[in-house]
C-alpha cells in the first residue's frame, strides 16, 4: 500500500526543515569577524601554496567501478533471497552458478592487482 510511505515523506520534510533551520541559526546568531587568515584554507599554519583541487589516485575510480559491479550483483541477490523458499534446490543451483561466475571475475580483478594499495 502506497499510503505507508507517507510518513517517510513527512519525515523527509521535517528533516529537511531541521537541516535548513540549523544552518540559518548558526549563520544568524554567530559573530561575524572575518579576516584574510581566517578565510584562507587551513594548512597547519602555512600559506596555502596551490589549489586544493589537485589530481588524485586513479584507484579511487577503480574502487568506484568495482563497487558498481558488485552492488548490481546484490540488487539481483536480494529478490532471489526473498523468493528462495519457493524456488528450493533449483534456486540454489541457479544462484550458485551466478555467484561462481562473479567470484571468477573477482579473482581475476584480484590477480590483476586492482585491489592493491601500497
Amino acid at each position: 500500500m502506497l499510503a505507508e510511505y507517507l510518513p517517510t515523506l513527512l519525515f523527509l520534510i521535517v528533516a529537511t526543515g531541521i537541516g535548513i533551520a540549523l544552518i540559518l541559526i548558526g549563520n544568524f546568531l554567530g559573530p561575524k569577524r572575518p579576516s584574510p587568515e581566517k578565510l584562507s584554507p587551513y594548512e597547519c599554519g602555512f600559506n596555502a601554496f596551490e589549489d586544493a583541487r589537485m589530481q588524485f589516485d586513479v584507484r579511487y575510480y577503480l574502487i568506484a567501478i568495482l563497487f558498481i559491479v558488485f552492488d548490481l550483483e546484490i540488487a539481483f541477490v536480494y529478490p532471489w533471497a526473498l523468493v528462495f523458499r519457493e524456488l528450493g534446490v533449483f534456486g540454489l543451483i541457479e544462484m550458485g552458478v551466478f555467484l561462481a561466475l562473479l567470484f571468477i571475475g573477482f579473482i581475476y580483478v584480484w590477480k590483476k592487482g586492482a585491489l592493491e594499495w601500497e
Binding site: 528533516a15 537541516g19 548558526g26 578565510l39 546484490i74 536480494y78 567470484f103
Partner: protein, 340 residues
C-alpha cells in the same frame, strides 16, 4: 485517508524524533564519560549533576560560534553538504520498529510501536544510509582544502567498499525471514520463547560481518580513516565550524544509533526476548538494552583499538570481508534448503 491515522503518524513522528535527538545528544556525553572512565579519569562532570547538562551547553556553544565560509570554497555545495549528510541520517529512524503491537489506555485498537512499516524496509534503509556519502564527498570537494579533499575521497572509497560486505551479510537474514519488512524480520525471530534470534539460528557469521562493516560504515574507530586527526587534521570537516560542524557531528551519531538499531533488528531479535509474548511492554526495554549494547561496543572499540592503515583497511574490506560474505550467502542458502 482517515484523520485518525494521520494524527497517529504525527504523534509517532514527534516521539520518534525526540527520542532520536535525545539519544544522539546523550550518546556524546555517554561516550566522553565512558572514554574518561576507561582512561582512569572523570570525563565532563561539571555542567549539572554528573555532567548531565553537558549536551545542552555544547549545543549553545555551537550556536554562538562564528560560522566561517572560506573564500575559495564552492559556496553552494559548502552550505548544502552538512544538510545532505544530516537529513538521511535522521530519516532512517522512521522505519525502525522498537516494539510489537500493544494496548494503550483510552485507545480501542492495538498500536504498533513503529512509525511506518514498508515492504522494502531494509532496501530503503540501505538507500538512505548510502545517501550520506554524497554529503561527505561534497564537503570534501567544496572546502577547497587538501585535508578535506583527501578525507572525502578516502571516506567515499571506504563507505562503498564496506557497504558491499554489509549488504551481502544481510542476505543470509533475508533467506530466513523471506521479507524485507523490518517488522516481519523481527516477528520471524520470536521462537524459542523469544530467543530464536538470527545470531543464534545460523547467522553468527553474518552477524560478525555486519558488525565489522557497520563500524566501518559509520566512520568510527578503528576505521575512522576519513578523520584521522594525526594525518588529516579533521578530514572532510576541517573547514567547518559552528552549527555546520554540529550537523556533521549529529549525523555521525544518528548513523551510529541507526546502525545499532539495524543490527538489533536483523540479528538480535529486535524487541523479542523472554516474556515478550505475555507482556508486550517488555519489548521496547529489550530493544533499547540491545541497542545500548551496540553503542557501548562502539565506544569500547574506540577506547581499545588503534587505527588501521589505509591499505590494511581496503585489503580487509575487499580481500577478507567480501569473500567471507559471499561464502556466508552460500552456507546460509544451503542450510536453508536442508532445514527450512
Amino acid at each position: 485517508m482517515p484523520l485518525e491515522l494521520l494524527v497517529e503518524w504525527t504523534i509517532k513522528l514527534l516521539i520518534g524524533f525526540v527520542i532520536l535527538m535525545t539519544t544522539v545528544a546523550y550518546l556524546s556525553l555517554f561516550e566522553r564519560r565512558m572514554l574518561g572512565f576507561m582512561q582512569m579519569r572523570q570525563g565532563p562532570n561539571r555542567v549539572g549533576p554528573f555532567g548531565l547538562l553537558q549536551p545542552v551547553a555544547d549545543g549553545l556553544k555551537f550556536i554562538f560560534k562564528e560560522d566561517i565560509t572560506p573564500l575559495a570554497a564552492d559556496k553552494f555545495l559548502y552550505v548544502m553538504a552538512p544538510a545532505l549528510s544530516l537529513v538521511p541520517a535522521l530519516m532512517t529512524f522512521v522505519l525502525i520498529p522498537i516494539g510489537g503491537e500493544m494496548k494503550i489506555p483510552f485507545i480501542d485498537r492495538p498500536i504498533a510501536l513503529h512509525v511506518t512499516s514498508v515492504n522494502v524496509g531494509v532496501l530503503a534503509i540501505l538507500a538512505m544510509t548510502g545517501m550520506g556519502v554524497y554529503g561527505i564527498v561534497m564537503a570534501g570537494y567544496a572546502s577547497n582544502n587538501k585535508y578535506s579533499l583527501m578525507g572525502g575521497l578516502r571516506s567515499s572509497a571506504q563507505l562503498v567498499s564496506y557497504e558491499l560486505a554489509m549488504s551481502m551479510s544481510i542476505v543470509g537474514v533475508l533467506l530466513q525471514a523471506g521479507s524485507l519488512d523490518l517488522v516481519k524480520i523481527v516477528a520471524n525471530q520470536g521462537g524459542w520463547g523469544g530467543m530464536q534470534w538470527h545470531v543464534f539460528w545460523f547467522q553468527p557469521l553474518g552477524f560478525i560481518i555486519f558488525l565489522i562493516s557497520m563500524v566501518a560504515e559509520t566512520n568510527r574507530a578503528p576505521f575512522d580513516l576519513p578523520e584521522a586527526e594525526s594525518e588529516l587534521v579533521a578530514g572532510f570537516h576541517t573547514e567547518y565550524s559552528s552549527m555546520k560542524f554540529a550537523m556533521f557531528f549529529i549525523a555521525e551519531y544518528a548513523n551510529m544509533v541507526t546502525a545499532s538499531a539495524m543490527a538489533t533488528v536483523l540479528f538480535l531479535g529486535g524487541w523479542q526476548g523472554p516474556g515478550v509474548a505475555q507482556l508486550p511492554l517488555l519489548g521496547p526495554f529489550y530493544f533499547v538494552a540491545k541497542m545500548l549494547f551496540f553503542l557501548f561496543l562502539y565506544i569500547w572499540l574506540r577506547a581499545s583499538l588503534p587505527r588501521l592503515r589505509y591499505d590494511q583497511l581496503m585489503d580487509f574490506g575487499w580481500k577478507f570481508l567480501l569473500p567471507l560474505a559471499l561464502i556466508n550467502i552460500v552456507i546460509s542458502a544451503t542450510v536453508a534448503v536442508v532445514l527450512l
